[in-house]
């Protein structure tokens, strides 16, 4: 087991050389590996000087949670244990982060919903912890493939939400996530989402920096609220006569605080832009009149559809959203210039991304927006389904 007292100015407690996020993410040489998403998450955590992790088993992410446990046994993570259930785990994560620890956990759809009350509480207390959410179906009947419905529930918790497409993005994003969440002017929790099973269980080529370097540790005294460690006088959060006892004070406090949390998420934009190299990534033909607005593995399938459409002489482009909170509205509008038809392929039945896109584009685009196709979980999204949706729109009645 590692000891925090083994930390020096240049090396963390496990002996890794401390580097800046820029060095770790952009400058350090990388080598090719072949790994699953769960394994790559272990590699990311290994390079993040993580103080605490709490785990609970669930498919599809259970391997990731136990791999973080292995890291702890190897001396890379400060403290690690299995909680009693997800509500307990998210509460334990809250405690760890309040006490000044860089904290990470991971779960999936059912665990997320069981723990739901905690996420709004996390953002309310401005802890910068990270949840890796490997999306999985939540509706009956049972499935371990994503219908990413739980993401829709998370959107209004006040947390930052990022969405990774593949194993490589999961690695880079989960490192950048700590860095952005911990910026003193942001300091709100972050949910890094991937589509479980497709990303957690599939093996892909991934470029990783060496594992003898790691991020500088979390500095809890830069937090906008004092950490709960008795080292500084207590903060005034919930210290004034209990806000609920006056409707006026309650309104003023609660409303201003909620707006402040949302403003903090907005303030994350420039940092996210730097560390993610842009909030949206666009591929395909620049002058296309057809665009797919996507996130997660739907982006991968849309790119495949884009290549097939190209063979048929139809130009299209894929605009992949990498942050959902904050929503990259301006970047999306810019990327959509000249586009006449917008398609939003999704893995869920409610079309939460379509709603987000329509809200952002209301009165800002002439293009028509098609919310589809939707595969509603339990299966992958065939490129043919996307192509069919396009053909029915631009070539009505004739199909693909």
């Amino acid at each position: 087991m590692s000891k925090i007292t083994d930390m020096t100015d240049t090396h963390n407690w496990s002996g890794q050389r401390l580097v800046t996020a820029d060095e770790l993410l952009f400058e350090a040489p990388r080598e090719k590996h072949f790994m699953t998403g769960s394994e790559v998450l272990k590699e990311a955590v290994k390079r993040c000087t993580v103080d605490a992790s709490v785990s609970y088993p669930i498919t599809p992410q259970s391997e990731a949670a136990h791999l973080i446990g292995e890291l702890w046994a190897e001396g890379y993570v400060g403290t690690y244990f299995r909680g009693e259930n997800e509500f307990g785990v998210m509460s334990e994560v809250a405690g760890c982060a309040m006490a000044g620890a860089r904290t990470i956990t991971t779960t999936s759809g059912p665990g997320t919903l069981r723990a739901m009350e905690n996420f709004a509480q996390w953002s309310g207390t401005r802890i910068p912890c990270q949840l890796i959410l490997m999306a999985r179906g939540i509706n009956s009947p049972l499935t371990i493939q994503p219908d990413n419905l739980e993401v829709s529930y998370m959107l209004e918790t006040g947390c930052q939400i990022w969405y990774a497409e593949n194993v490589q993005e999961l690695f880079d994003m989960s490192i950048a996530a700590f860095v952005v969440a911990e910026k003193p002017d942001v300091h709100v929790p972050i949910i890094t989402v991937v589509d479980g099973f497709f990303v957690s269980h599939t093996r892909e080529a991934v470029m990783l920096p060496a594992d003898d370097i790691a991020l500088f540790p979390y500095e809890p005294y830069k937090s906008p609220l004092p950490p709960i460690d008795s080292e500084t006088p207590p903060g005034r959060f919930l210290r004034d006569p209990f806000v609920m006892k006056s409707n006026y004070i309650s309104y003023a406090t609660h409303a201003s605080w909620q707006f402040e949390i949302r403003s903090a998420v907005e303030r994350s934009r420039p940092y996210a832009e730097h560390f993610l190299d842009g909030l949206v990534h666009t591929t395909g033909s620049e002058d296309a009149e057809i665009a797919f607005v996507t996130c997660g593995t739907a982006s991968h399938q849309a790119k495949e559809a884009e290549r097939e459409l190209m063979k048929l002489g139809i130009k299209s482009k894929v605009i992949k959203l990498r942050t959902i909170r904050p929503f990259p509205e301006e970047e999306l509008i810019t990327a959509l210039e000249g586009v006449k038809h917008i398609f939003v392929p999704e893995f869920n039945v409610v079309g939460w991304l379509e709603k987000e896109v329509k809200k952002a584009l209301y009165k800002k685009t002439e293009a028509d927006i098609v919310g589809g196709p939707r595969v509603a979980g339990g299966m992958s999204m065939p490129a043919e389904a996307i192509i069919k949706e396009v053909m029915e729109k631009i070539n009505p009645g004739k199909g693909a």
């Binding site: 403290t79 334990e92 760890c96 006569p241």
Partner: protein, 289 residues
């Protein structure tokens, strides 16, 4: 931690009520770092503002004052509490406290304690949970017991008023059988949950059932329980603090009610594990008790 645990911003000092200045100047914090603190200091000291938002005469307010006076190291203590009447008192003390959600107090406390042990390996930092019976025995029972199973080094104190007071008087698991309360319109159907016995069988090294009628006894139990939790493992105190409002007593009748119950339902129960017993004897020898 600095002794200056609670400092008023000098620019606001002249508009602060005297009560708050007293809280800064007369809290017993570090005055007796080597000797045990205790309720004998309460007349001169200030632990809790009188202008708290509990009902006048609520025994919870007195009991919290006893608890605070008995903390072995208040400047290194974090109290985790839960939604309920108890949470209304915490804005009125000069200590690090956490109010998280209703029922997750032992889980939050677990996270805090584990991280403090990791971040400050050479400092003893105490984590104490203080919550109502609804939070401890009902919605939070899983988290309470699991923290005992896992042998977390925390002290759990239940202010057992035998009712959900803050939501207006519903039956809880700690309500005696037969009692008519809201949501138990024909009387509660099952016996009071013997949380102190569950604590014993779930791994607590120190478990007590008592009322808050005798300040010295409460203070002694708190101090012993925290020392045992720090060194050995989880500890639990169930303290009867009746909700005078819900059982129809006036402000001056709380003490009488507790004394009455001392002889009856809250006849003292005390379990100390052999390791804890040995450790407490050593503490006594060293003058820590």
């Amino acid at each position: 931690m600095a002794i200056d645990i609670y400092k008023i911003n000098p620019e606001f000092r002249d508009i602060m009520p005297q009560e708050i200045i007293d809280l800064e100047e007369k809290a017993t914090w570090a005055q007796n770092q080597d000797k045990p603190r205790g309720i004998k200091e309460l007349p001169q000291s200030k632990e809790l503002l009188e202008e708290h938002s509990l009902c006048a005469g609520c025994p919870e307010a007195a009991a919290l004052r006893y608890v605070l006076s008995a903390l072995p190291k208040p400047e290194e203590t974090i109290i985790v509490n839960s939604t309920g009447c108890t949470s209304l008192m915490f804005p009125h003390i000069a200590l690090h406290t956490v109010h998280s959600l209703f029922g997750n107090q032992n889980a939050v406390a677990t996270g805090i304690k584990r991280v403090l042990d990791w971040r400050f390996p050479d400092t003893e930092k105490d984590v104490v949970v203080l919550a109502g019976d609804g939070a401890t025995v009902d919605i939070g029972l899983d988290y309470t017991l699991q923290s005992f199973f896992r042998q977390e080094n925390i002290t759990t104190i239940c202010f057992d008023n035998e009712v959900y007071a803050n939501t207006g008087g519903q039956e809880s698991g700690a309500t005696p059988k037969g009692q008519v309360f809201k949501m138990a319109p024909t009387g509660k159907k099952f016996d009071k949950v013997p949380m102190w016995k569950l604590a014993t069988t779930s791994g607590c090294h120190y478990s007590i059932n008592m009322t808050a009628s005798a300040p010295k006894a409460v203070a002694k139990a708190v101090r012993e329980a925290i020392l045992v939790a720090r060194e050995i493992g989880p500890t639990f105190l169930n303290i009867y603090t009746p909700c005078i409002l819900e059982i129809g007593l006036s402000a001056n009748e709380g003490l009488g009610e507790m004394k009455e119950q001392d002889k009856d339902r809250f006849e003292s129960y005390k379990y100390i594990s052999p390791e804890a017993e040995e450790f407490l004897a050593k503490c006594k020898e060293e003058g820590r008790l």
